[in-house]
């Protein structure tokens, strides 16, 4: 990567590469950034953390040339620069990898790496150069696929590597990664960390944005914490700890993050026997959840957990086996029948499956309950709808100006609260949660954990899928671990250890508690 360093120096630290001084940015009615400073050393992994709405994304968009700052200056190699466009940012060697990957899935890996900068020969695309060059960058990120492979055929984790290879191919000196692990499995994430460390060794600087404090701790040379559009604090490598980060992010101590209480288990709410899902028809799933119980489902991405929840919710009907709710055998062929049986699902993909993001908070909160609440010949009861949604907004502590706010403009945490509120309005017996805190900031996370506790206390059976180890260890009364479509083990509270979960999740055996 010497080419990427015009100064020719190979200094692995100590030199300030990029500096932001007093960056301010306002949108009509809101001050998104106020005098923010940031300093990135050469060959450093800098983590930028903060709750949603803290201003991280705005700052990164400014660095990537998506929008200009109102005030302040940006120094690159000590010289002030104007980053007027994404093109200008790329020319300066600043590359942003979005949380949602920006790849053309219908094109090959090579074509994606050189998208917009295709080498030409005689006016036509020079495919052989693309292949040769992109293979070089793929090797750099440890991605063992042919440049001819279609991007759409790769896993999300490998697609991420293509994005990084693409960034390297434009000689990126500063790589900004916005929640890169949010849709990766543990193994893929581990692989990503290896690549990031390798990049650091090559002198590339990385700005790493994540809500997963575990990885932040593992990766960071330095942590910058933001809160409400301002700098909240800096942590050097030695000072990084879970508690310190949380304290700076939320501005208060979260002494009890997971507030588990001892609860009485009730009768069996959900009993699943020999269930076969369309995705993994060769495996039979058998388990049960009692009312008042919180059961976690751990496993790697692709273990078939989401598919199992979708079958329980009637989205993809089962191929065989039986599902009993409160002892009654059910034929679940659509969400309609699942809802009628008292089952609710807060899906993994909140924006696609959980919410109609261009409708209002009120309309989303009432969407599932309409059929039940509005019995007068199908006519809407607006007064009742308003009352219920106001109740739910209060109960869920949704931060919204009013019930007529469009969902799109709420933060991820508040969106998730609306999804939960939508189902709680139905008073479900069984609540299925798929990655309930994905992409949600720390404050909202702990509120959602508290809600889960409250619901279990009131007798709801909760079955949740999580890819975050902490969340499984912290919340579950009992955990099921899945691997490649089958349940490899069940862990009681006493057996719940990181080692046991990882063993089972990768297809191994649990060790005795």
């Amino acid at each position: 990567m010497q080419d990427s360093d015009p100064s020719g120096e190979r200094d692995s630290g100590g030199t300030t590469l990029l500096e932001c001084k007093g960056i301010g940015k306002s949108f009509p009615g809101v001050r998104a950034l106020d005098g923010v400073n940031l300093s990135l050393q050469k060959g450093q992994v800098l983590s930028l953390i903060g709750e949603n709405g803290a201003g991280k994304s705005t700052l990164m968009k400014i660095l990537a040339g998506v929008q200009p700052p109102d005030e302040g200056e940006i120094l690159l190699d000590g010289k002030p620069v104007e980053i007027e466009s994404t093109r200008a940012a790329l020319d300066l060697g600043i590359s942003l990898i979005h949380q949602e990957l920006n790849l053309a899935t219908n094109l090959s890996v090579g074509a994606n790496v050189f998208l917009g900068r295709e080498p030409l020969r005689g006016g036509l695309i020079d495919e052989s150069t693309i292949k040769k060059e992109s293979a070089k960058f793929l090797k750099m990120v440890g991605l063992d696929v042919s440049p001819d492979t279609l991007v759409g055929d790769l896993t999300i984790g490998r697609q991420q590597m293509v994005e990084i290879a693409k960034a390297l191919s434009v000689n990126a000196r500063v790589l900004i990664m916005d929640e890169p692990t949010s849709s990766l499995s543990q193994a893929e994430a581990e692989n990503l960390f290896v690549v990031i460390k390798d990049l650091r060794a090559r002198g590339v600087s990385v700005i790493y944005i994540s809500h997963r404090l575990g990885e932040v701790k593992e990766l960071s040379d330095h942590v910058t914490v933001m809160r409400d559009g301002e700098n909240a604090g800096e942590l050097s490598r030695e000072a990084v700890s879970h508690e310190a980060m949380v304290r700076l992010m939320v501005g208060r101590d979260l002494s009890e993050y997971y507030e588990r209480k001892e609860r009485e288990k009730g009768n069996l709410a959900l009993e699943v026997k020999k269930l076969r899902t369309p995705v993994h028809p060769q495996h039979e799933l058998t388990f049960s959840v009692a009312s008042g119980e919180i059961v976690g489902i751990a496993g790697l991405v692709g273990a078939g957990r989401t598919e199992m929840l979708e079958t329980l919710f009637g989205v993809t009907p089962a191929l065989g086996g039986s599902i009993q709710v409160s002892g009654a055998e059910l034929e679940l062929d659509s969400p309609v029948s699942a809802i009628a049986a008292g089952i609710a699902l807060a899906p993994e993909d909140r924006k696609q499956q959980g919410l109609v993001i261009d409708m209002t908070v009120r309309e989303n909160l009432s969407l599932a309950a309409l059929r039940r609440d509005q019995k007068k010949a199908g006519f809407l009861d607006f007064a009742k709808e308003k009352k219920i949604s106001e109740e739910m907004i209060t109960a869920m502590r949704v931060k919204t100006p009013n019930e007529n706010q469009i969902i799109r403009y709420l933060s991820g945490g508040n969106q998730q609260k609306v999804v939960l509120g939508k189902w709680l309005a139905m008073k479900p017996k069984i609540l299925l949660l798929d990655e309930p805190t994905r992409g949600i900031d720390v404050g909202a996370k702990s509120e959602i954990y508290a809600l889960m506790e409250e619901l279990a206390e009131s007798g709801v059976a909760i079955l949740y899928v999580s890819s975050e180890m902490e969340e499984i260890l912290g919340m579950a009364d009992r955990a099921l671990v899945m691997h490649e479509g089958r349940i490899t083990g069940e862990l009681t509270r006493e057996e719940l250890t990181e080692e046991n979960v990882m063993q089972l999740a990768t297809g191994g055996e649990k060790t005795a508690a």
Binding site: V356, A368, R371, G378, F379
Partner: protein, 497 residues
Amino acid sequence: MNVKILGITLLLVGLWLFLAVQVPEGFLNGNNMFNLFLRTAMYGVLGIGVAFVIITAGIDLSIGSIVCLSGVLLSLFLSVSYDPTDREHVLEIDPQRQVIVLAEQTDRFEAGDQLRYYGSTQARSTVVTLVGVEQVVTEDDGGNSVSRSLLRVNGLNPATSKASDGFLATLFPVKGVDTEKGTVTVEGQLAGLEARDQIRFIKPRGGMEQIVVGRTESVDGNTRVSMEGDMGALDAGWLAMPLFRDQTMPIPVALLSVLGIALLLGVVHGLLVTKIHLQPFVVTLCGLLLYRGISRWLVNDRDTGYGNEYESSLSLLTNGKFELFTLGEPYGTYSIPYAFFIFILVAILAAVFLNKTIYGRYMLALGRNVEAARFSGIDTDRMTIIGYVICTVMGALGGLFFLNYSNSIAPSSHGNFFELYAIAAAVLGGCSLRGGEGSILGVVVGTALMVTLKMFINLMKISDTLEFAIIGIVILVGVVADELLKKAVARRQASKS
């Protein structure tokens, strides 16, 4: 009322004011106002229909063909024929021998009867007098022997050649005409003749009148018929041929059949879109071609319609009017067509359905995000199918309107481009082709705007070759303004939260 609808409403009112000032006599006169209401109503039902499909994030290109197909079907189902009931099939006529051979044996005719021969493609219609009847036995094509009646007559023109085919019907002499009372007395019993049947009066040496029957009564073995309509030169000595009215179907049956067929087509569209996951554009493009082709085939591509048969019933939809007031010339009488009242009723029902019922809410939700709607326990397939059904049924209602308006329709061109007018009106009125967005009031205003634009082109004496171009520009400006507006609103919203 949102900003967008306010915008096009202002544009519409502005256009009206402009026309009222520039060409007051042309624009404001009673006839033109009637037309404005009528066309808005006719195109408006199509716009409302397609709005529902657009709200489910679909499209329906088959509307114009549905308008045509339902028009053709209605004119077939409601077609009326007038035939003499006591007619006999003619096998052959031989003018040289003054002989007519009937297909079957009959003893209906007696010597001295006046008969009318008609219906052959080879020989002209003519009136003959029966001289005598014989029964003969001949062989048919298959070699079987058949008894037939052979009529010896007077009056066949010997100069004409032999002919086969046709009918023979009895004629009744007219005994007297009372032009004051509007009655005709006919010799003999015209059994079964009722109001709305007709009598064709024939003068032996040329001349013909066909008049609608009002009422019949029996007087001294003769029949006195009250006629509706001008009796013209009718006089004693003419001959009467009673014609019985035969309507293929009663009006309610015909209407329900056509609406039922449209409903079925909508269900098929919806099933193909939801169950087979075909793209709405493709499904309804095939519909556009298919229904057009079927319409042309059904009537051999001939102009079709039911003329003035339903003047006092169906045709009142578009011709009937509720009179408001009369001003002096050149403004004339102001009135509202009945079709407009139906349109307003449909619009109110549609608006209530869309905004006040859970089904409308479901459609708006699934149009925005079908997956989230399904995950909320909404039967999204069923709601989508309902959208397509509303659209085709509205197409059939439009078909009824346009058939009555046009009187006679050409199946190859009737309804061409109507789907585009409807979609344009819906888009102008605030429907987004991305789905989940739409307003019935907007569609009503959008349709009125389209109709007014056409009038504008006419009244301002702009070359009508520019019609499409002007409509295109207005829609383009409309959607551009809308998109800019939406961005501004989004920015304001984003900064609020």
